[in-house]
């Protein structure tokens, strides 16, 4: 029972992290109609920036704030230099161009930080376990990820649904030409949305960094998961991305935690421990395939164009 609570919290934490990544992706995809494979690279850059700045400033909080700003700037720069020329192009062109950017970022990181991974040590005040209900302890850091991610999700909801900028973003998602014709500086809006997405990806990366090692290619696997989430949730839908992300995070974490034991009842121990992670990873893709076949527009599609 205790294990179940703990693993569910881990699932929730991973799901919320995925949401941060997927939210930026789905905004960019939904509004600019742009497939950005390099989103995973921004996630990676966020983690590398954080590891560097925290080591520099000797302060965890200051370091991650600097890293967040750096990722935001990088995203805006990337949009300004390269990606804005790809809006309105074929999806295939966008996939190829951003695939090229992944290659670039991986090697740039290898050149700057070297091939070995970095680690981002936690300050001592984040490593203590916290008692959440009597008898159940949970690491403070993972708990703080949940809190931060929920806060960001709430903020995002308020910004998108309750502010003028959010209104423009939603209007842009449903009809780009029309809001341009109404005198909105659509280029600026796109750059802004892209920068926001980049910062969210960087935030996800830097929050994941203390849990895993910071390494080259860390964004690639999780990027595909984020794509799965926005396809399941419905492209352009933040609400869909939120629900799908938590769903996928749960499946992934609970699958990894409990499938080995379940499989051991039918398979040999060794076979089960190799098959289980593979099977739980597959479950997610299976889910996406089913969703695409049954409801190609996703489970919670954004308002129709």
């Amino acid at each position: 029972m205790l294990v179940l609570v703990e693993q569910s919290l881990n699932g929730l934490q991973f799901g919320l992290l995925l949401f941060l990544l997927a939210a930026g992706l789905t905004l960019v995809f939904g509004i600019m109609d742009f497939v950005n494979l390099a989103h995973g690279s921004l996630y990676m850059m966020g983690a590398y920036f954080a590891a560097t700045f925290v080591a520099w400033t000797n302060s965890f909080v200051l370091g991650i704030l600097l890293a967040l700003g750096a990722t935001l700037l990088l995203g805006i720069l990337l949009e300004f230099v390269a990606l804005r020329h790809l809006y309105g192009r074929d999806h295939l062109d966008q996939v190829l161009a951003t695939f090229g950017l992944i290659l670039f970022f991986n090697d740039a990181v290898r050149l700057i930080w070297g091939p070995a991974g970095l680690s981002l040590p936690l300050p001592s005040w984040l490593t203590v376990p916290v008692q959440i209900v009597p008898g159940v302890f949970y690491p403070a850091y993972r708990l703080s990820i949940i809190v931060v991610a929920l806060a960001v999700a709430a903020m995002l909801y308020i910004v998108v649904m309750r502010t003028r900028i959010g209104m423009l973003i939603r209007a842009g998602a449903s009809n780009r030409e029309m809001i341009g014709a109404l005198g909105i500086n659509i280029k600026l809006l796109f750059t802004l949305v892209f920068g926001l997405g980049a910062a969210l990806a960087g935030l996800a990366g830097l929050m994941q960094a203390p849990i895993l090692t910071v390494q080259i290619g860390m964004g690639e696997n999780i990027l595909i998961l984020a794509f799965v989430i926005i396809v399941i949730g419905g492209i352009g839908s933040i609400r869909g991305a939120f629900l799908a992300a938590i769903f996928v995070g749960m499946i992934d974490t609970l699958g990894r935690a409990f499938l080995p034991d379940l499989l051991r009842t039918v398979l040999s121990s060794a076979a089960a421990s190799t098959a289980a992670p593979a099977l739980s990873s597959m479950l997610i893709y299976l889910l996406m395939a089913i969703v695409l076949v049954v409801r190609p527009e996703g489970l919670f599609p954004a308002a129709k164009r």
């Binding site: 999806h91 996939v95 090229g100 690639e220 593979a278 990873s281 597959m282 695409l292």
Partner: protein, 315 residues
């Protein structure tokens, strides 16, 4: 009628001739490395050509073609591991499994269009990747070493570099010829018609998705053959070879060369892999140049190498 001798055709003919004569050059200069490199290039060219059949002619942007390389490879590897070394069994199994996989995922994926099709083919390929990682008996994540290449009862010796190269080249030329015949057949015309205007083809009575599916299966089967060749070439097969970045590379090769042209993918593969090789000799960080180059090609050189040669031909 337009002259048949133009820059584009000359380049294609010279490339084919060069590929044919490469072992001679390698034997004369004693440069074995170039033969090994080009064996790999020829195999990937076959895979790219098969992807081009559905991408260029069929308008189906598959982002999961690496799966067939893996399936073809694992068919060879697993059978060899279990003591069945005959290519007469291994290769038909590789082709049949690739075809079957293409049939199943094609039937499901073709219900979607556009970016959803890209994503669903990607999802299925990732599933195949995780299945391969879960095969603990066959090495799991670490992959499987193939100790003995496929045997063909003394007909051909795959361990002989030159013989293996010519086998790969034969498969490539055969594959390109097959694609040429398909593209210019009634079937191929229907597939291209569906790419241009699906509704119209439906309206005049063609079952669009059936044509698409058959085309998808043919493409997957050819790529499965490339997978069987690749496994024999590297004597090794691992899930890493079917990761989504490999599918991305195949797409790059096709677009590099010129999507929807017969020889474009072959030229694209040669240029892409040679560039990778040359750049990595200058610097360890070859992707630092390759990545932005790719971006520039997408931005400024539409139609790839074939498009460029075509413009040169028109003068």
């Amino acid at each position: 009628m337009k002259s048949r001798i133009n820059v584009r055709n000359v380049v294609v003919a010279l490339t084919a001739l060069g590929l044919l004569l490469l072992p001679v050059y390698s034997a004369l200069t004693g440069n074995i490395f170039i033969l090994t490199l080009f064996t790999r290039i020829v195999i990937f060219a076959l895979a790219a050509a098969s992807l081009n059949l559905i991408m260029g002619y069929g308008g189906m942007m598959s982002f999961g073609h690496a799966a067939y390389l893996g399936i073809g490879g694992y068919a060879v590897g697993i059978l060899a591991h279990e003591g069945i070394g005959s290519g007469f069994i291994q290769w038909p199994v590789a082709l049949a499994l690739s075809a079957l996989y293409a049939l199943v995922i094609g039937a499901l994926s073709l219900r979607t269009r556009g970016v959803y099709f890209i994503m669903i083919t990607l999802a299925f390929a990732q599933m195949a990747y995780y299945i391969a990682s879960g095969l603990s008996r066959y090495g799991g994540d670490d992959g499987l070493t193939i100790y003995k290449r496929s045997t063909f009862g003394g007909l051909i010796d795959l361990s002989n570099r030159v013989q293996f190269y010519y086998l790969c080249l034969f498969c490539l030329f055969g594959g390109v010829y097959l694609i040429w015949r398909i593209v210019n057949s009634r079937f191929g015309m229907v597939v291209q018609g569906v790419r241009s205007n699906e509704q119209r083809m439906q309206a005049i009575g063609f079952h669009a998705n059936r044509y698409r599916l058959v085309c998808f299966v043919i493409s997957g089967t050819i790529c499965g053959l490339a997978g069987a060749l690749l496994a024999n070439n590297t004597d090794f097969i691992s899930p890493a070879g079917m990761y989504w970045t490999r599918s991305g590379e195949l797409m790059v090769m096709v677009v590099f060369g010129g999507m929807g042209t017969l020889f474009g993918p072959v030229l694209g593969t040669i240029v892409f892999l040679l560039l990778e090789e040359i750049l990595s000799q200058f610097t360890e960080y070859w992707a630092l140049i390759m990545g932005p180059l790719l971006l520039l090609i997408v931005l400024f050189a539409r139609g790839g190498i074939m498009g460029l040669l075509g413009r040169l031909s028109r003068g």
